[in-house]
């Protein structure tokens, strides 16, 4: 006998990779673990307006780039303008251009964003040491003194920035700071003082997201680099860190809007909060990222719905293996209950059970006449198939006449399977009597019902289609049960006489 180790390693591998693939799907692609989950999304409209001077105009507008938000859809409208979206190392920009712009010009940029939950600003690479700002002669002494004072009280770039921000916003500022603030805005002063110590810092702009707000403006913040990460400060009000509803619009440190050939340019934002299905959102995101390769989502919808049905079969099969190997229930035909359960999914349970019993009992009656005729087996079963089709047609018509729309779904039953069931039940009836027919037929229907209940649960349907890794787990379980040498549950009852003695 060969070692079972490779087998258990295989099962463990299947199990782990199945779980890992599912968890990866859920976390990396944000596919929700539960069906019907909703996510918040934000629709932001930016309206760029300026007054054309009759000259060729070029508008360069910075586009949002924030790890905390993912862009689902974006588009720009501007009749008559040429539009390019550039994506360089520093930032993403929309560039509108036109030969001649006269009068008030409105350009629109719309974007739909979903939160990613990633609110840290990780730096891809260490930024260059900034050029030291050259203070005007009048300010230099005050600036150096103020900087040294804070520097001595700090340990890291971050604590230096925190301390500095505190001093800039203290109730009683030092005279040096007061002097410097007369000619510098707080944010600018903050950056310049950081740069004096060679600490990378830049001014960025962000937008506060509030539902149904219009004509909003960008607010300025300062990003300070420390240890692989950018930290957000607001020297205007002394706050530190990222507000919950802030969307960082421009992180390049350059201007948000540049207009050549126009005057009085400005940009206004309006926004709207929306809820949408988390699953649809995740699929849209994957589509944007070209992450759909080798995924069922890229199939046409018709094939997708076909696969939704096919991928339920492993659940039914797992149910049958479980009920037969661990419980010990007898069914007529190994996987017939799965096929019946698939039909139940189309018909719903009660209609399906009633329809099944009707067809089989009618079929048995007709089959008992056929057995009088001494037919060959093949032609007898063929006759039963044709009769089953007739019965289905009759019931469909009758239920239509009586206005029972449920009856119309009876056509979903697999007819050849039904014919074989009728044939088997009929033989069983002749050989072992009606009791055995009820026992075996009941067992099959019981297993089919359990398989149906498992297969029709919405979260099961959600999992088998969206987390394909789950099928590896099912495979592992089926393999594992195939090695089970313990007693079946019903054997504990059957062998009860053997446990009482001794």
């Amino acid at each position: 006998m060969h070692s079972k180790k490779p087998f258990y390693i295989l099962v463990a591998l299947l199990f782990i990779s199945g779980i890992a693939a599912s968890v990866y799907r859920g976390i990396e692609h944000s596919v929700p673990f539960l069906p019907g989950k909703q996510v918040q999304s934000w629709a932001v409209d930016a309206k760029v307006s300026f007054q054309g001077t009759g000259e060729p105009a070029e508008v360069s507008f910075s586009l949002p780039e924030d790890p905390a938000y993912e862009i689902l859809v974006e588009n720009a409208t501007s009749p008559g303008y040429g539009l390019t979206i550039t994506d360089n190392a520093i930032d993403r920009r929309a560039i509108w251009s036109i030969r001649r712009a006269v009068g008030i010009q409105d350009l629109y940029y719309k974007v739909t964003l979903i939160p990613t939950g990633q609110d840290k600003l990780i730096a891809d690479k260490t930024p260059d040491t900034p050029a030291v700002y050259k203070w005007p002669a009048t300010e230099q002494a005050a600036a150096e003194q103020a900087i040294e004072e804070v520097w001595s009280k700090s340990a890291t770039n971050l604590s230096f920035a925190q301390q500095l921000n505190k001093d800039l916003n203290a109730n009683e500022r030092s005279q040096n700071i007061e002097l410097l603030l007369t000619s510098n805005s707080p944010n600018k002063l903050f950056i310049r003082m950081l740069h004096s110590k060679g600490i990378p810092a830049k001014e960025v702009s962000g937008l506060y997201l509030e539902d149904q707000r219009r004509r909003q403006q960008l607010s300025n913040f300062v990003e300070v680099y420390n240890d692989g990460q950018w930290h957000l400060f607001n020297a205007e009000d002394g706050s530190q860190g990222r507000p919950d509803n802030l969307l960082l619009w421009d992180r390049s440190g350059t201007s948000v809007l540049d207009v050549i050939g126009g005057v009085n340019s400005q940009v206004n934002f309006s926004m709207l909060q929306d809820t949408r299905s988390a699953l649809a959102t995740a699929i849209d995101v994957m589509k944007n990222d070209n992450a759909l390769d080798f995924s069922l989502y890229q199939l046409p919808l018709e094939e997708q719905s076909l696969f939704k049905g096919i991928l339920l079969i492993p659940i039914g099969v797992l149910m049958v293996v479980f009920l037969r190997v661990l419980i010990g229930i007898k069914t007529s035909g190994t996987f017939m209950p799965v096929l019946i359960a698939l039909a139940f999914i189309q018909t719903t349970l009660i209609t399906g059970l009633v329809g099944f019993l009707l067809i089989v009992s009618f079929g048995l009656m007709i089959r008992s006449y056929l057995s009088e005729l001494n037919l060959l087996l093949i032609s007898r079963i063929s006759a039963v198939i044709i009769v089953v089709i007739g019965i289905i047609g009759l019931f469909t018509l009758l239920s239509y006449k009586f206005g029972l729309s449920e009856g119309l779904t009876i056509t979903f039953f697999p007819m050849i399977i039904l014919a074989w069931t009728i044939e088997r039940m009929s033989i069983l009836w002749e050989e072992e009597g009606p009791k055995e027919v009820v026992v075996q037929g009941g067992g099959s229907l019981f297993v089919a019902t359990l398989a149906y209940l498992a297969m029709s649960a919405t979260w099961v349907q959600h999992w088998v289609f969206n987390f394909l890794g789950i099928h590896l787990v099912i495979l592992a379980l089926v393999l594992l049960m195939g090695q089970y040498t313990g007693y079946r549950l019903l054997e504990l009852k059957r062998f009860r006489p053997l446990a009482g003695e001794k």
Binding site: G328, N374, L377, R488, L492, F495, L498, A499
Partner: protein, 316 residues
């Protein structure tokens, strides 16, 4: 208590279906030898080649048009049995115990019309009783003149003796007696009585019907465990020889006692059921393990039977 505790069953050496399938059938019965037992015609031919006694072969029918020859085959006999060559679980067996002027009668005295016989054979040929519905061959056998020693122990049917042969050793035995409830059939799940038989002596140990212990035959009221199977040694020998013949490690042999010819091999089973444990009132695993622990042996049939009588008796 409604359910037995698995640990108690395990301690009592009860073999379960899953363990039987994986650890015994799967391990000791090579797939390629299955046709030797699944096809009764092959079993019969093999048995004849190995000098094992089997019921008389009157003829076979393998084509639908061959059905017409049946009256010619059977009209001179006292009775006959038609069975599918690839049938299982006793399905599709037609027993005619009386032939009178071309009219056939079942054991219960009911007449079977020739057209019913034809239909039955036609069903057999179409594969109605074979595994997977494959086309089959009908075997027509001579009737067994069963030994009167079982008179009063069986109702309408032939009592048969099931032995489990593991690697050539007979390790557990049972006598199956039909009842009114089982409609003359010898299948325990249909209500036949199973009597556990001591391997050493051929005497009854313990009897069950529908998995419940019984002391008396439900129809004839004869005391069951006082039964003793005659020619027990010959039976053990014949069954044990089936190991060499079939090359299957885990085997069920079904035999009957004929008044004139002694023990006849009816059929072999590569997947014998587990009811024999209930009939014996004990688990089969200790005996199976005993043989497994012996490793490879080079014992003859006689040595194996002698060994089994010492080690696998219920009183040992």
């Amino acid at each position: 208590m409604f359910l037995a505790s698995p640990s108690v069953l395990k301690r009592n050496g009860v073999l379960g279906m899953n363990k039987r399938n994986i650890d015994y059938i799967g391990r000791y019965n090579p797939r390629k030898y299955y046709k030797r037992v699944d096809d009764k015609l092959t079993t019969k031919q093999l048995a004849l080649a190995n000098n094992i006694a089997v019921p008389d072969l009157i003829g076979t029918v393998s084509e639908q048009h061959g059905i017409a020859d049946i009256p010619a085959m059977v009209n001179d006999t006292d009775g006959f049995v038609i069975k599918p060559s690839k049938g299982s679980g006793g399905k599709g067996i037609l027993v005619v115990t009386k032939v009178e002027h071309g009219r056939y009668y079942k054991p219960n005295g009911q007449e079977v019309t020739p057209s019913e016989v034809y239909r039955h054979v036609s069903n057999v040929l179409s594969g109605l009783f074979s595994l997977g519905g494959k086309p089959d061959v009908a075997i027509v056998e001579g009737l067994i003149q069963f030994d009167p020693v079982f008179d009063g122990y069986s109702y309408e049917g032939v009592p048969d003796i099931r032995l489990i042969i593991f690697k050539g050793f007979p390790i557990m035995g049972m006598l199956r007696l039909s009842t009114a409830a089982s409609d003359g059939k010898a299948n325990l799940h249909q209500g036949a009585v199973g009597v556990g038989i001591d391997i050493a002596t051929g005497k009854g140990l313990h009897a069950v019907q529908f998995d419940q212990p019984v002391d008396y035959h439900p129809d004839t009221q004869k005391k069951l465990i006082s039964i003793a199977v005659p020619q027990w040694d010959t039976l053990l020998h014949t069954a044990s020889m089936a190991y060499e013949m079939s090359e299957l490690g885990y085997l069920g042999t079904d035999m009957v006692l004929d008044k004139n010819k002694g023990p006849l091999l009816l059929e072999l089973n590569a997947r014998p059921g587990l009811a024999i444990q209930i009939a014996n009132g004990r688990g089969i695993l200790p005996n199976l393990r005993h043989v497994e622990n012996m490793g490879n042996h080079n014992m003859t049939v006689e040595e194996r039977v002698a060994y089994a009588k010492i080690h696998f008796s219920a009183n040992s």
